[in-house]
């Protein structure tokens, strides 16, 4: 385990609540980013992030340090996002308007419109992926985690992660190509 994480976990187990606060501050933004890419909007992302740290607070006294704290934390995050989706399956997965609004402003109006169109197309394509595929794409492309760690987080083999990623990227490529060809028509 990362030395800093190990020290914080040990301090928390000794009863130092401030160690938990330090862990939250260290990981809250990454947890939020993973959650936000997997659930519908900021409010849901914030709810999931909060729930992740509540679960961590409950379970940390029993955390044995056999895996990286980060891996354990992201596993809780992904599982909560998958549960969240199960419960809210009537809801749109990601609110596209929000994704587009989150983008930084491009310089010229033409460039801005083009960039927004690209982001919208990408968001729509990613939205169409099954939840587990989306989790793997998020962890690999946006968190840059190695395939082995993604396998531990998702509870499957490294080979399964690679095969799933390959399928996801092919599907995304097909969807994006379709989108461009429709636009050009």
């Amino acid at each position: 385990m990362d030395q800093e994480d190990a020290a914080l976990v040990a301090a928390f187990k000794r009863g130092e609540e401030s160690a938990f606060t330090a862990l939250v501050i260290k990981y809250r933004e990454t947890v939020y980013r993973i959650a936000r890419r997997m659930v519908a909007n900021h409010e849901d992302g914030a709810d999931v992030t909060q729930e992740v740290f509540i679960r961590v607070h409950r379970a940390l006294p029993r955390f044995d340090g056999r895996s990286q704290l980060r891996t354990w934390l992201y596993r809780i995050t992904v599982n909560l996002c998958l549960d969240f989706q199960e419960r809210r399956n009537r809801h749109s997965w990601v609110e596209l308007e929000e994704v587009v609004q989150e983008a930084p402003a491009e310089t010229g109006p033409v460039a801005r419109v083009e960039a927004q169109a690209v982001r919208q197309a990408v968001a729509q394509a990613v939205e169409s992926l099954p939840a587990r595929q989306r989790a793997m794409v998020t962890l690999r492309l946006y968190q840059d985690l190695p395939y082995g760690e993604i396998a531990k987080i998702c509870g499957c083999s490294e080979g399964t992660v690679k095969a799933t990623m390959f399928a996801a990227l092919r599907k995304l490529r097909g969807l994006l190509a379709e989108e461009w060809s429709e636009e050009r028509r």
Partner: protein, 169 residues
């Protein structure tokens, strides 16, 4: 490198984590294989488009409120006495010693307060048999603490905890 091996390695290459020798092997294969080169270009374009979307960020000023809500929720979490005790006991040096002292003190006090318990003479003579050398080493002020504790209880309850009872005539 075969086309199949190259395509498996492409995923690693395109998404960013490849050992230099594998990267060189893939590049060498792509130079001589137009089909794999086209596949690599498509994958690279897709990954570039996906990575172009900015990282989601919460609204300005979100985190202080988040921390306050989290703290508030955690404070409402039911924590069992056992869990509290377990966390206190997990301190590497003082934990076991403190646990032993607590158990001994509880035993001493419960023995002395039991109705019909034989009268005792003084605090030190009653507590002393239960204090081992290792306890004294780990907690040098233990006997003093016990005396202080007794005097505190004495002032509240008016009757000293370890006072000897008058002999029955």
């Amino acid at each position: 490198m075969t086309c199949r091996e190259a395509r498996e390695a492409l995923l690693e290459t395109v998404t960013g984590r490849t050992a230099p020798d594998l990267r060189r092997a893939v590049a060498a294969h792509l130079e001589v294989c137009p089909a794999c080169r086209a596949e690599a270009a498509r994958l690279e374009e897709t990954v570039a488009l996906l990575r172009a979307t900015p990282d989601p960020a919460p609204p300005e000023g979100f985190w202080p409120g988040f921390m306050a809500r989290l703290e508030e929720r955690i404070s409402r979490e039911p924590v069992s006495v056992w869990a509290r005790l377990r966390r206190r006991m997990s301190a590497p040096v003082l934990g076991p010693a403190a646990a032993t002292v607590i158990v001994v003190l509880v035993f001493v006090v419960s023995t002395l307060l039991r109705p019909g318990a034989p009268p005792a003479s003084t605090t030190q003579s009653q507590v002393a048999p239960f204090l081992t050398d290792s306890m004294r080493t780990l907690m040098p002020s233990l006997e003093e603490t016990v005396q202080l504790w007794q005097s505190g209880l004495g002032t509240v309850d008016a009757e000293p905890l370890f006072e000897t009872q008058p002999a029955v005539p």
